[in-house]
């Protein structure tokens, strides 16, 4: 398999060399540092600063709610949870820096809610953590009982109506533990985020922009690989493909429990659209605050005059983002309902997202002379 891809890539490289001729633009002549600086200073760090402000506010809202679990405070906390979750979509792809597997701690779903939920054979469920008080959120094994999906369950999924849900925080035998768990989760999110942001600001930013080479361990190669990995695995598969039944994870069957923000129901499309925006913005180097375009992958491809069937590859990719967005626009805001009622419409979105996997992972990587650094593991 890998061999095939390699041969395929080699063939493409060979073809493109002859197409461009010896005087064509060289991949190593482009100023990669300009891209790295734009990514770090105008996208990554501002996105993290924005996210860190949201997680700080989330922590505060949860403390207010835990101190006084009223319907109003619940409403405020839910609203801040959604704002934070949206902001998360703009940093989720940036896994570089000190904290490995940051994403898995903040957004592993389906969450392991209680004994009747998905993965219920595991003893460590959210309900079990709360009732026994025996949990340690820094452990990798606790990743499916924390983060935004766990809050989704605790703020929306405990009961069918708000009055009953609030009773978990007021009259339930474990009400104190429920309140404490919510603040433990938001504190964990906030602390992890601060660690990552702090690392970027104090040292890693300079290391990142100065590592300008073209080897497998250069910042540019690693970031591009991380970007495509995020697009393929977390956006295309995680948010759309797996719930719609496009992958083997649910044996090809639609699987509503795999929808992001499953318990709150109405936000899955909003979160997906934020994620799609963030991916396209990254590709075009759009400044997080001003939305002004800066140096990024699109400029690099244009510099190399990379064409795809007579059109600039950067245009092909941007058009494909637009087509995907239009396909997704007709989906129900609630992906659970969408999966239940018409998974085929979601598969249609998946197919459009898949086209850009090819443009990004084959055409773009070939033009940039980057080797993919991830493969599907052998599963053991």
């Amino acid at each position: 398999m890998k061999k095939t891809i390699f041969l395929f890539l080699s063939t493409l490289i060979f073809l493109s060399c002859t197409d461009n001729g010896p005087s064509g633009p060289d991949v190593d002549d482009f100023d990669r540092e300009a891209i790295l600086v734009n990514w770090a200073d105008n996208i990554i760090i501002p996105s993290f600063q924005n996210f860190a402000a949201e997680t700080e506010a989330l922590k505060l809202a949860s403390e207010i709610f835990s101190a006084d679990p009223t319907l109003q405070n619940l409403t405020d906390l839910r609203s801040q949870w959604l704002d934070s979750y949206k902001a998360w979509q703009h940093v989720s792809m940036f896994e570089m820096g000190t904290v490995m597997n940051f994403r898995d701690y903040l957004n592993t779903y389906p969450t392991n809610a209680n004994e009747s939920s998905f993965n219920s054979d595991e003893s460590k469920t959210i309900q079990n953590n709360i009732e026994t008080g025996d949990y340690n959120l820094i452990l990798p094994s606790s990743r499916n009982t924390q983060g935004f999906p766990a809050l989704d369950y605790l703020l929306y999924g405990l009961a069918d109506n708000d009055a009953e849900l609030l009773s978990f925080y007021t009259t339930n035998d474990h009400a104190d533990a429920y309140r404490a768990y919510v603040t433990d989760l938001t504190t964990r999110i906030d602390t992890l985020t601060d660690t990552v942001l702090d690392n970027w600001i104090n040292g890693y930013r300079d290391e990142f922009v100065s590592n300008t080479g073209s080897g497998a361990n250069s910042s540019f190669n690693m970031m591009v690989n991380d970007f495509i990995f995020y697009y393929e695995k977390h956006l295309r598969a995680g948010k759309i493909g797996i719930p719609a039944g496009a992958t083997n994870i649910s044996s090809g069957n639609p699987s509503p429990i795999h929808v992001e923000a499953y318990y709150s129901r109405n936000f899955s499309k909003i979160l997906f659209m934020e994620s799609l925006d963030s991916v396209q913005n990254f590709f075009n180097g759009s400044n997080f605050k001003s939305q002004q375009s800066g140096e990024s992958l699109d400029d690099y491809l244009d510099y190399l005059k990379t064409m795809k069937e007579g059109t600039d590859l950067s245009t092909v990719i941007n058009n494909q983002f637009e087509i995907s967005r239009e396909k997704a626009a007709v989906l129900n805001d609630n992906f659970v309902a969408q999966v239940d009622n018409d998974p085929f419409l979601m598969l249609a979105t998946y197919d459009e997202l898949q086209r850009n996997v090819v443009y990004l992972k084959v055409d773009m990587l070939q033009a940039l002379n980057i080797t993919p650094d991830y493969f599907d593991s052998d599963g053991d």
């Binding site: 890998k2 340690n136 590592n211």
Partner: protein, 407 residues
């Protein structure tokens, strides 16, 4: 059933043609059967139930090693020995058929005639090594279930979205046990026991086989059965044991699985068919009493099955190296790969160079490589350079390169 019906006329046709060509020479050409089905008087002569049972026992042991809630040292050791500590009958398995067995994994670890019949001290040491790993899981790793792993401290570590449980040196004991059994149980029994002339031709086996003298009440000659027992260690849990190649890789967690992986690598494509063909042709040769042809197939199997273990050893060393050799080393992924790699390297002392009595890597060579992985804080300390160098050391002993094995 269908295949054999189709096959019969084909075989007859071939025999007919070859008889024709060889001009009454009585020198018949033995063709490679397409399926592993052999009969006498209309009844199958193929049997390898003991091998199927041991693969299943080892599989239960592997999975029980990760069952933090229910497993004890006593239970795991009973699964390994299928006996209580004082030698009594034990029922440690979830499958009642396995509890009814008197066979065990341990009795066939490092137990081949060629390598260990006159080397019982080493055999006992290797058998005990597995018990140390099993006990280590219970005594070092289980108590630290809810600790983060650190150099010198057992605990859990993230590997992608999986969580791995490692000892203080970064090794997963369950992987050491499972992957080392590929050599110590499966390969050793196949290559150095059941495919050996010392076993196939023991006692009056040849004479009996020539004269169709059956093994007690069974429908097979002893020699036929020995060959089938070799086959069973590779295909004993196959979905269709008579035609196992279509599902190779999916049928167990031992050599069958990794034969599937290696066969899927373009550099080694076809090795699964080659191995099946050698087993089938060797068995057909026994029926015809052609022991030269039989032994030729045994040499092919020694080379190819040894190669599977060698390729996976290098593959995992390289995967581990790639996980470590980056800006932020992915220790979790590396430790998992290198724990598997450790087991495959351990397995190499049980390989067999064709037409010799030697493994591709001696025990001393294997021990020296493993020592480089375990010294100091073990996998926390090991460098990508060391992993590259060990990969080369292993590949140089075989007929493949590090690059061919790594992808």
């Amino acid at each position: 059933m269908k295949a054999s019906k189709l096959l019969l006329p084909l075989l007859l046709a071939t025999l007919f043609i070859s008889c024709d060509l060889t001009d009454n020479n009585n020198d018949i050409t033995i063709v490679t059967p397409a399926t592993y089905e052999f009969t006498r008087n209309g009844e199958s002569t193929v049997s390898f139930t003991g091998q199927t049972a041991r693969i299943k026992m080892a599989t239960e042991l592997f999975s029980a090693m990760s069952d933090f809630d229910n497993s004890t040292e006593e239970l795991l050791l009973q699964m390994y020995r299928n006996q209580t500590a004082d030698g009594g009958d034990a029922d440690p398995f979830s499958d009642p058929a396995l509890n009814a067995e008197t066979k065990s994994v341990k009795s066939k670890v490092a137990a081949s005639t060629d390598y260990f019949s006159a080397n019982t001290t080493v055999s006992a040491q290797i058998k005990a090594q597995f018990e140390e790993w099993i006990s280590g899981q219970i005594n070092e790793v289980f108590p630290n279930e809810n600790q983060l792993a650190e150099p010198g401290v057992a605990g859990q570590i993230a590997d992608g979205s999986s969580t791995r449980y490692v000892n203080g040196k970064g090794f997963e004991f369950n992987q050491l046990v499972a992957k080392s059994l590929n050599g110590a149980l499966i390969a050793d029994q196949i290559l150095n026991n059941y495919l050996s002339t010392s076993v196939l031709d023991a006692g009056t086996n040849r004479e009996d086989n020539d004269n169709g003298v059956l093994d007690g009440d069974s429908n097979y000659t002893t020699m036929e059965h020995k060959w089938d027992e070799a086959y069973g260690y590779l295909y004993g849990t196959s979905q269709n044991p008579a035609n196992p190649t279509p599902t190779v890789g999916d049928d167990d967690i031992f050599v069958n699985k990794y034969l599937g992986s290696v066969n899927a690598d373009e550099d080694f494509a076809g090795i699964a068919q080659d191995i099946f063909d050698a087993f089938a042709l060797g068995r057909a040769a026994i029926i015809e009493g052609d022991y030269e042809l039989r032994d030729l197939q045994a040499q092919i199997l020694r080379e190819k099955i040894s190669t599977v273990l060698g390729v996976r050893a290098v593959y995992y060393l390289q995967s581990g190296k790639n996980a470590l050799d980056q800006q932020n080393p992915d220790y979790g992924a590396a430790f998992h790969d290198l724990s598997e790699g450790y087991g495959f390297i351990f397995s190499l002392q049980f390989t067999r160079i064709p037409n010799t009595d030697e493994p591709y890597l001696t025990k001393a060579e294997v021990d020296s490589i493993l020592a480089q992985l375990t010294e100091g804080n073990g996998l926390w300390d090991v460098s990508p350079e060391t992993l590259n160098q060990l990969s080369t050391t292993i590949a140089d002993k075989f007929d493949f390169t590090v690059e061919e094995a790594a992808n």
